[in-house]
Symmetry: C2
Subunit: 256 residues, 2 copies
């Protein structure tokens, strides 16, 4: 779906740990093209490895450039992540709004997502290279995201929109009405049998039970479990009747 | 919008740096209720402070519990983050699908979002406490997210859905048709004046220029800038005509 055409560009990152976290976030979300414009500081290999874990190859296969202009030179759309103030603020839109266009752009060419250093954000001449300005929604009270967290939110939004992730599915189908009714019949019999309700209140009680069991999905497998419980309770009640018949006792009445 | 009713529960976290990052992510997204079930390891205050930065108060105001059961005891809905395999996998749905229900739940009671330790995820008896199982979409090739990144994605999805974040807006309104036409008239005059096109090709050229300038928004402020350029070019062409009239020269022909 084109994610291999989307380049994550880090301009002058300060902390190796963050760069390692960026690699992990990228690999989690199916990205592989990392470009780094090195800053004045060494990226502390140890922290970087510790945070990247199995995503270290992303860093090892990075490309390096002397400037953001060079890092995005072969890209069509260039999306910059903006601070919340400044000249370009008016044009910034939340990442989720840009996702369809960025993915569309990645179908036919390279797309860049550019992130500034941890402390300052992108320079004006770097913002000028951008065809889109991206905002990440955050609280007014504490808006500044960690660099790797910002990369994660952007990559997550793009990945989620590709539809590559297939959520797990219930393997058991929804129970049919016929099965459900068989189960409710068994429960009616069981609840009468154990003395939870009497015949005159049974319809009302059964409506309550139907309500409780109809709030979500009720699969084939679920109905088989519930049917088994009811049948066992009925068996148990039958056994008690037999014993009581012998001893002349009566079951306790727990009806609400 | 109820985010103060959503508790982030960390079960036996291993690394202070991750807990610090969790605090920052929570505060970025408007969350404040952190519960920790301490694990066997100390949470290394230094790394924790370094990653939390201004969000340290979230950690200082945390509540601590001996078990997940106690940490969620007063919560209605309890959403657990699942590994991608295991007994509960069939019931897990992506975080975005749960967001409306979790927010709805937070309007009337406490809601918990429970995250297991970095290495193992939640225990079976902890998963059993959960009324919802949450998945975070990720690549099949490298699915395991860092703990703080997982918290960020969940908190981001919930925050984004509250509508609390108001994206920046263009402060200049879209230019009116009348203004645009005045601007295109000025460009026509300028392009003729500087000798970029001749009268017989002007209509065709102007259609091209309209196409270029109609691909996005064109604000009042934009149109004023473009109008100014055209008028200045016309003025410049007029000056040249005057000089050429004096010297008998001709403007060069740059028409495409």
């Amino acid at each position: 779906m084109g994610l291999e055409n989307i380049r994550i560009v880090l301009a002058r990152p300060l902390y190796g740990g963050n760069v390692g976290s960026v690699c992990r976030a990228m690999m989690n979300m199916g990205f592989s093209d990392l470009a780094v414009v090195p800053g004045p500081l060494d990226l502390f290999e140890e922290e970087l490895r510790k945070m990247a874990l199995g995503a270290l190859p992303i860093y090892e296969q990075r490309s390096e450039f002397d400037s953001v202009a060079e890092a995005v030179a072969d890209c069509g759309w260039v999306a910059g992540t903006s601070a919340r103030t400044g000249f370009y603020r008016d044009q910034a839109r939340p990442i989720r709004e840009w996702v369809p266009r960025l993915l569309q752009g990645s179908e036919t060419g390279k797309v860049a997502l550019v992130f500034g250093p941890e402390d300052k954000g992108l320079r004006t001449e770097e913002l000028a290279l951008c065809t889109q300005m991206v905002q990440i929604p955050s609280s007014d009270a504490f808006p500044a995201l960690n660099l790797a967290q910002a990369v994660m939110v952007c990559c997550y939004e793009l990945f989620a929109a590709t539809g590559q992730f297939v959520p797990s599915q219930e393997t058991s189908p929804e129970a049919t009405s016929e099965m459900r009714e068989r189960m409710f019949d068994a429960w009616r019999e069981a609840l009468l049998g154990i003395g939870f309700m009497k015949e005159d209140k049974a319809d009302h009680m059964m409506l309550g039970l139907r309500r409780i069991l109809s709030r979500g999905t009720l699969t084939d497998a679920d109905v088989r479990i519930l049917l088994g419980i009811a049948k066992q309770a009925s068996w148990c009640a039958g056994q008690l009747d037999t014993v009581q018949g012998e001893k002349g006792k009566k079951a306790p009445d727990h009806e609400g």
